[in-house]
């Protein structure tokens, strides 16, 4: 699989590409999307198959175990029969053991095949998942690149239009800094003004010191009124 970074770099490298030209043609994008869909379908099917096969693997293992138990049982029976000189019965047991061993061989064969299928399906699932992940990542990168190209186009159009034609970076920075300095200067000036006019004013300081000021307290007023009344009387 060729690297998506390589493709993108080729597509982006100046000159070869017309402005706004797609990184990946629409047909290739469609193929990719289709491959992702196919891989997802395969993945779903493989997962279902795996579930079924693993179920029959469990059943197969159980059958094999059962056959092995049966064989052991009939072998023991055959021995017991021989000890009791029941030749005919012993022979029947031996025949049964023979049948069971044939069946066991078949079942073991099936079980081995099932195990191989499980391994194969697991590998297939892993492969599908990888395909999906890689293709989705690649498509994402292609689409992002296309968005960036669109944005670049917008940026170019916007910055070439309007009064502020592409300024050089250093003068932009100088202008911004000058403007910020101006804002700070304004703030300083405002502070000076505030100190002169506002809470920091001379009158205020005097008032705070109890000199001058026009703060007429109720007791002052009352005192004045009393003074006035006394003068009259």
């Amino acid at each position: 699989m060729s690297s998506i970074f390589g493709k993108l770099l080729t597509a982006l490298r100046g000159g070869a590409r017309e402005a706004g030209e797609a990184v990946m043609d629409a047909n290739a994008t469609r193929i990719y999307t289709q491959e992702i869909e196919d891989a997802k379908k395969n993945l779903g099917k493989a997962k279902r198959d795996l579930t079924n096969i693993m179920a029959s693997q469990t059943k197969g293992a159980r059958d094999v175990k059962q056959l092995q138990d049966d064989i052991a049982k009939y072998e023991a029976s055959a021995l017991s029969a021989m000890e009791k000189n029941e030749e005919e019965l012993a022979l029947s047991c031996a025949e049964k053991v023979g049948e069971l061993q044939t069946e066991l061989a078949v079942q073991e064969q099936v079980l081995a095949q099932t195990a191989a299928q499980v391994i194969k399906l697991k590998a297939l699932i892993k492969q599908s998942e990888t395909t999906i992940r890689e293709h989705e990542r690649e498509l994402k990168m292609v689409k992002t690149t296309e968005s960036v190209q669109k944005a670049t186009q917008s940026i170019t159009n916007t910055q070439h239009a309007g009064a502020n034609k592409l300024l050089d970076a250093k003068s932009s920075l100088d202008r911004i800094k000058a403007r910020q300095q101006h804002t700070f200067d304004q703030m300083d000036a405002a502070e000076v003004l505030e100190n002169e006019m506002g809470s920091g004013s001379l009158d205020d300081k005097l008032a705070q010191a109890g000199i001058g000021g026009n703060k007429n307290s109720a007791s002052d007023i009352l005192a004045k009124l009393k003074q006035g009344a006394a003068n009259k009387g």
């Binding site: 992002t144 916007t158 050089d168 970076a169 911004i176 403007r179």
Partner: protein, 137 residues
């Protein structure tokens, strides 16, 4: 979540002051997928927001190739690569012949996250030009 660029940008620009780092932001929609954000007092360095396939890209164009002193390109690249990791939330990039700083975000980012991205990107762009000015004409 925020599939609509205009809606998202309206949310971002009307956030409380402290969520915008005290910077006033205004925006205009340039085409359906690209918004231009102007940061107060920084008109020369607008930030472009674009909705890509599954991410939000915030891009601030710094300067173009014609402004780079040709013999210092390599040194500038080295500086850019070295600054890339320390620079908060943003990385250096090149688009056609334009150098930029950018940040990529999830489409599910909140307005607060986008505002932080924009103000950080704006601060980064000023610092970046200053840091790289030795390599510029």
């Amino acid at each position: 979540m925020n599939k609509n660029l205009k809606e998202l940008m309206t949310q971002v620009t009307t956030l409380d002051d402290e969520k915008r780092g005290g910077l006033d932001l205004s925006f205009e929609i340039i085409d359906e997928q690209v918004a231009k954000v102007t940061v107060e007092d920084r008109d020369e360095l607008p930030i472009f927001i674009t909705m890509a396939d599954d991410q939000l890209l915030c891009i601030c164009s710094l300067f173009d190739e014609s402004q780079v002193t040709p013999e210092s390109r390599m040194a500038m690249f080295e500086s850019m690569l070295s600054l890339n990791i320390p620079m908060p939330l943003s990385s250096f990039a090149k688009m056609d012949d334009r150098y930029a700083v950018f940040g990529a975000m999830s489409l599910n980012s909140s307005a607060e996250d986008v505002a932080l991205e924009i103000t950080t990107l704006s601060d980064n762009s000023l610092d970046a030009i200053e840091a790289l000015s030795d390599y510029l004409n």
